[in-house]
């Protein structure tokens, strides 16, 4: 007889959340989708579902994740029946089955609750469950991935669920498609060591879900224009290299913003000159997807802590500020090099328009001032445009000091 390590502990857990976890656990087990696969499709960290299923962890499945999981697991409803308990008193026995596997037996100890033991196996990351769903094959899934990549599907950012749904909607895979090889292929297209690192997964969306996309890149052709020639002259041959070089340049105002090669001459730039040069580079190389954007956003003490005192002094919650950046398909690219988080920035955007690189000077200032005039009027701000512009300059100075 083998000896097994047993450990019994007591804990409490919000009853409705526990019932919900059981509902999802049952559904994913029936479909043979592992905790890791569920977490991956949810766009959260690898052990999110494993943590949620652990009564000793505080991870809960919130309404957004509930609906998302409902989609992943093709459920019609994503909630259990109501519970008459606020908290469950749980007795949890953990049994080590082997070196890698642990079984958890949970008994709800509240009077009147169903006393039947609930068994759960704690899954390791790479563990695969038996499934009746359609797995297809790793190779066939990869073929369709290559088709999607070639068709520009990944030029836009995609969540894992969006990709999964694209496969489920394809006649070859269908609604019963299992995500195993899909996930394995995404990891292949991310892997720098043993795969083809085509995708970028460094970003999350506004719901903290991991997103995947093929970063914009192209070869710079030397004869396509003055900007291209200047990049080639300093040994930069691709858009990716150019954007990194721009981002690494010092953040400083330029003397002559009208000079389209000013970055090369002054070795510094701001959001406008830095992004204008990249837009010009894209135009010269016949890339049509990259857009130069003029956005107005709420500059406040949260996204720009160094202006807190200035805003307090003038009793303002925020000032609408102008910012230039790039947009490629559905996502923002910011190479200002001051650590702008593109996802968070999008939340603070008030409005945006496409502009051409020669509109980063007078047009930008006029557009910004027109916006501020409307903002002063609509919000009954107790300052004139000139006064507000001065306050804004004070904010920029405070920002520069930092």
């Amino acid at each position: 007889m083998t000896s097994r390590k047993r450990k019994i502990q007591n804990t409490t857990f919000p009853a409705i959340s526990f019932d919900k976890i059981l509902l999802f656990h049952k559904a994913r087990k029936e479909k043979g989708i592992s905790a890791f696969e569920c977490s991956f499709l949810l766009g959260k960290h690898d052990f999110f579902i494993r943590d949620a299923e652990n009564p000793f962890k505080s991870t809960l499945i919130d309404p957004e994740d509930s609906v998302h999981l409902g989609k992943v697991l093709s459920l019609t409803e994503c909630n259990p029946e109501t519970s008459n308990f606020d908290l469950y008193k749980l007795e949890v026995e953990e049994i080590k089955i082997d070196r890698k596997k642990t079984k958890r037996i949970i008994i709800i100890k509240n009077d009147g609750a169903n006393p039947d033991p609930i068994e759960m196996i704690v899954e390791d990351k790479e563990g695969e469950l038996e499934t009746t769903l359609f797995l297809s094959s790793y190779e066939n899934v990869q073929l369709f991935f290559r088709e999607l990549i070639a068709n520009g599907y990944f030029d836009s950012t995609r969540t894992a669920l969006e990709i999964f749904n694209t496969f489920r909607n394809h006649h070859e895979f269908g609604t019963n498609f299992h995500p195993r090889f899909l996930i394995q292929n995404i990891r292949y297209f991310l892997n720098k060591k043993s795969g083809e690192p085509i995708f970028d997964n460094r970003r999350t969306n506004l719901f903290s879900r991991r997103i995947f996309f093929k970063p914009l890149d192209f070869e710079i052709e030397s004869k396509s224009g003055a900007v291209s020639e200047s990049f080639i002259a300093i040994g930069i041959n691709t858009f990716q290299q150019a954007s990194q070089w721009v981002s690494d340049l010092d953040y400083r105002r330029n003397q002559n913003k009208d000079n389209k090669l000013v970055l090369f001459e002054e070795q510094c730039g701001t959001c406008s000159t830095k992004h204008a040069i990249l837009k010009r580079l894209a135009d010269e190389n016949r890339n049509n997807s990259l857009k130069l954007i003029l956005g107005i956003f709420t500059m406040n003490s949260k996204n720009t802590p160094s202006i807190k005192n200035v805003l307090n002094k003038y009793d303002l919650k925020y000032i609408p500020e102008a910012h230039n950046y790039l947009r490629n398909h559905n996502h923002i690219l910011d190479f200002t090099g001051i650590g702008v988080n593109e996802t968070k920035f999008e939340l603070d955007l008030l409005e945006e328009i496409d502009i051409s690189p020669d509109q980063i000077t007078d047009f930008k200032v006029q557009y910004h001032k027109d916006y501020l005039s409307r903002w002063i009027e609509i919000n009954k701000i107790p300052y004139t445009l000139d006064e507000l512009w001065e306050i804004r300059e004070e904010c920029i100075a405070a920002l520069a000091q930092n």
Binding site: I16, D62, P63, V67, L75, E77, C78, N79, T82, L206
Partner: protein, 180 residues
């Protein structure tokens, strides 16, 4: 200086559906505080149903509300059993960030209890600043809800409103009612 509050479309859906159901059942801020086991003088509903606050419900709230709404629904004779699924959007609902805009409830969507509660409490309709008979109240509520209601439809509802101290009766002799 209006600051737009962004919230997930799912959380906003839940907030607005709860608002609709609780109005239909005549459940006010104080009731919600009690249901959720919070300080009776607090106002979580004020925060959740505010366009300028990012507060939202979580599942523990929703479970308590579902139980309480079910009890109230049976008391009022509607006999609806609520679960969290009644508060959640359908599974295919799109997840996106949206401006937090709390819906204005149309009395046409409500029954007698909901309409009286909406006009009396939520909208502070000035009609209830003066004394009125139950017939006048029925006619006024009916005109807003585009329904043909009579005084007898409101007898027990007015009694309930008096018990909840959202309506007062002029005297034992005079069956006239107004907002306290």
């Amino acid at each position: 200086m209006k600051k737009v509050i962004l919230i997930s479309s799912i959380s906003l859906y839940i907030i607005n559906i709860i608002r609709k159901i609780r109005t239909h059942l005549g459940i006010n801020t104080r009731d919600i505080q009690k249901i959720l086991g919070l300080d009776p003088d607090g106002n979580i509903l004020g925060a959740i149903e505010s366009n300028s606050n990012s507060a939202r419900y979580h599942d523990q709230h929703l479970n308590k509300l579902a139980l309480a709404f079910t009890t109230k629904s049976f008391e009022l004779g509607y006999k609806v059993t609520y679960t969290l699924n009644d508060f959640y959007p359908p599974i295919d609902f799109e997840e996106r960030m949206v401006e937090k805009i709390i819906v204005k409830i149309d009395p046409k969507e409500l029954g007698q209890t909901g309409t009286l509660y909406l006009l009396l409490v939520e909208e502070s309709d000035t009609f209830f600043d003066g004394w009125h008979t139950s017939k006048e109240i029925a006619q006024y509520c009916g005109s807003k809800a585009e329904k043909n209601w009579e005084a007898k439809d409101f007898t027990s509802i007015i009694d309930q409103a008096i018990k909840k101290e959202i309506l007062i009766r002029k005297s034992e002799e005079e069956a006239l009612f107004k907002r306290p």
